[in-house]
């Protein structure tokens, strides 16, 4: 078993990995940028070392520095989490060269699957279904134009190195194509250091359904069923659930087996996710492989009872997967909501600032993987994810009921966040019916406004605000009519009494 692991990440995922390490008696080594000195993740490490300034290139993407720290601290492995260097094949290769175990697939697998264009070829050869689209990228606008015309509008521009919705654009009409290509390529370049983009067919009401896989060094490869991730804003998932309301046992088995086939064709090692688009007619198309632990892995852990991060570490240690496909079962239902520092009333624009008060929900079936605390300062430098709230239930209905209550009990004051928005999403009738596709949010929440607060609650809030503000010791004297509170007829819609 590995003895000491450097966790090359921050926030909730760094804490998640550190917990797995510490539980298994493995020393967890953290890294942090200057503004992250008091970030939550380093509090869960046994050791922690400074990477450098805030900028990701100088800190969490600084390969030389991370390797140097890992070697100086005598680590035997590096866990990259998700994002940052997680799908960087150069980094994986560098680890291999420096005698450090990279907890993830082999560098060549990451490189192969990291190119959407290459991976489409691989999947096609393996006989799994792919979505109609360009087989090559290009520097020539004319080729993009022709490809789009052949595929038929609307088309989707995607970054070859992409993920997380960055570098993606929907193009409805040819006249918008040039601008969209330019903007997508620029965003891709900035996010991944690679501006290559390509075009594929845009399905009408697709669901995003992905299959979790685990593969060990003996080649044993199993699937841990699906996650439905159709609820997206700005092409980024914000609500995920399993089982998917769209799958039935035979389709689940077919998609699982396709995922295993693709993984085997790629010589896959460790945990990974094969993403598919599921069309309304239940055809499914390969989208991409995420060669890392996913943000939404906890819902799979809830319904399978399997600790994916612990198995990542065991597989990286050379252990065989201790179960077979027939041992794996889904039980109950789980849903995840991603809590972001963002403004749902303003196109989900990221937000920053100090969290004045934070109180996180607990209870049966509730798990909160969090990177924040009361007094924590959310900076502008990194992804605005704050935490993930996960609810398990005996069935989908109970998972939703538990999630609803947990979202109501989740307190993050001082910065804009999407907690109330998520509550409204999962309580939308279409969501209740399981009628989820990637157009769900644009269709149902085109101009989202947080619902108006009611007057009773405003009274209580005002009382709490005054009580709290008066130095927590309200001074005002004897019970009786107050002398001269100013009139507040001005209050209009908010007249209190």
């Amino acid at each position: 078993m590995l003895k000491k692991i450097l966790i090359a990440n921050r926030g909730e995922i760094a804490i998640r990995v550190a917990s797995a390490c510490r539980q298994m008696g493995i020393t967890a080594v953290g890294v942090y940028s200057e503004p992250d000195r008091t970030a939550k993740h380093i509090q869960y490490m046994d050791e922690a070392y400074l990477l450098g300034p805030a900028s990701p290139l100088e800190s969490y993407l600084n390969i030389d520095k991370i390797i140097e720290i890992a070697k100086n601290a005598d680590c035997d492995a590096i866990h990259p989490g998700y994002g940052f260097l997680a799908e960087n094949s150069d980094f994986a290769e560098r680890c291999e060269r420096e005698g450090l175990i990279f907890i993830g697939p082999r560098a060549e697998t990451i490189r192969l699957l990291g190119s959407k264009i290459e991976s489409r070829k691989l999947v096609k050869n393996a006989g799994a279904p792919i979505i109609p689209g360009m087989e090559l990228s290009s520097n020539n606008f004319e080729e993009y134009r022709k490809a789009a015309e052949e595929i038929g509008y609307p088309v989707l521009i995607k970054a070859s190195a992409g993920g997380g919705g960055k570098g993606m654009r929907i193009v409805e009409r040819e006249e918008d194509l040039a601008d969209a290509l330019e903007s997508a390529s620029r965003e891709a370049k900035s996010a991944f250091g690679d501006g290559t983009v390509y075009i594929e067919k845009l399905l009408k009401k697709p669901r995003h359904v992905e299959i979790q896989i685990l593969a060990d060094s003996t080649g044993r490869t199993v699937y841990l069923f699906e996650r439905e991730c159709s609820i997206q804003r700005r092409h980024q998932k914000i609500v995920e659930e399993t089982p998917s309301t769209a799958l039935y046992p035979e389709l689940r088995r077919k998609m699982g087996e396709a995922a295993v086939k693709i993984a085997k064709a790629a010589g896959y090692l460790n945990a990974g996710t094969v993403e598919f688009l599921l069309d309304e007619d239940k055809s499914f198309y390969f989208l991409e492989v995420n060669t890392r632990i996913q943000v939404e892995h906890p819902i799979t852990e809830m319904v399978t009872g399997i600790d994916l991060v612990a198995h990542q570490i065991k597989i990286a240690s050379g252990e065989e997967i201790p179960f077979e496909q027939k041992d794996l079962h889904q039980r109950g239902s789980a849903i995840e909501c991603r809590i972001y520092a963002e403004d749902p009333e303003n196109n989900f624009f990221p937000s920053s600032g100090k969290i004045l008060l934070c109180s996180e929900p607990t209870g049966p079936g509730i798990r909160c993987d969090s990177g924040i605390y009361s007094g924590y300062e959310v900076t502008v430098h990194y992804d605005p994810i704050l935490s993930k709230l996960i609810a398990y239930g005996e069935n989908r209905r109970q998972a939703l009921e538990r999630m609803s209550l947990a979202l109501k009990d989740y307190v993050v004051l001082g910065i804009k966040n999407n907690i109330r928005f998520l509550y409204d999403v999962i309580n939308h009738p279409e969501f209740h019916e399981g009628n989820t596709d990637t157009g769900f949010i644009p269709r149902n929440f085109p101009e989202y406004q947080i619902p108006q607060n009611d007057n009773d609650k405003l009274k209580y809030a005002l009382a709490a605000a005054v009580y709290h503000s008066e130095k927590k010791s309200p001074a005002v004297g004897v019970y009786g009519k107050s002398e001269a509170p100013t009139p507040w007829e001005t209050l209009g819609a908010f007249r209190l009494f």
């Binding site: 990221p350 809030a461 107050s482």
Partner: protein
């Protein structure tokens, strides 16, 4: 004390009351019982109804969360301070384009003198690795552009100043 909620000034006091405390505002009253829990958390009872209120505050604001609803109260600034703030923002906020957080200007999409309509793109900003297209909320004319592509802009800085179109008396 005075608090501002949704741009309206509220004047409220807490006095001792027969059930513990009394909220007094506008000469009207609400009796309630308030108990202190962990830091920032309060238990309010009103005729059997129980409410847990969470409060977080800084110099400018008091935030309160009750059963999933967030209330943001502002603490009034001195009038003079307010006025100078108003000046720097040059009046109506829809006409002054400010970044909601420190951002990088990816691309300015308009020129001084351009007429813009509601929904027209003005500028692409990047924050936290994401591009955001800022659209106009008004029909207007571009008066000033204070930053260029590639510039970093801090919060509170006006990037683009719009003005009402000539002869437009609607506003």
């Amino acid at each position: 004390m005075e608090l501002i909620y949704n741009d309206k000034k509220l004047n409220a006091e807490i006095a001792k009351g027969p059930n513990g405390y009394r909220l007094i505002a506008d000469g009207e009253e609400l009796d309630l019982d308030i108990g202190r829990l962990e830091s920032g958390a309060y238990s309010i009872l009103i005729k059997g109804k129980t409410v847990k209120a969470y409060v977080g505050s800084d110099k400018e604001s008091v935030f309160v969360q009750i059963n999933g609803s967030v209330f943001e109260f502002h603490i009034p600034k001195e009038d003079s301070e307010r006025r100078s703030d108003m000046d720097s923002a040059s009046g109506d906020e829809a006409y002054a384009i400010l970044p909601p957080m420190p951002s990088k200007v990816v691309k300015v999409l308009v020129n001084v003198g351009d007429k813009v309509s509601v929904g027209d793109g003005l500028i692409i900003l990047e924050s936290m690795k994401m591009e955001n297209l800022v659209k106009s909320k008004v029909d207007a004319v571009v008066k000033e552009i204070n930053f260029s592509d590639g510039d970093l802009v801090d919060t509170g800085k006006v990037i683009i100043q719009l003005e009402k179109p000539n002869g437009d008396n609607k506003g």
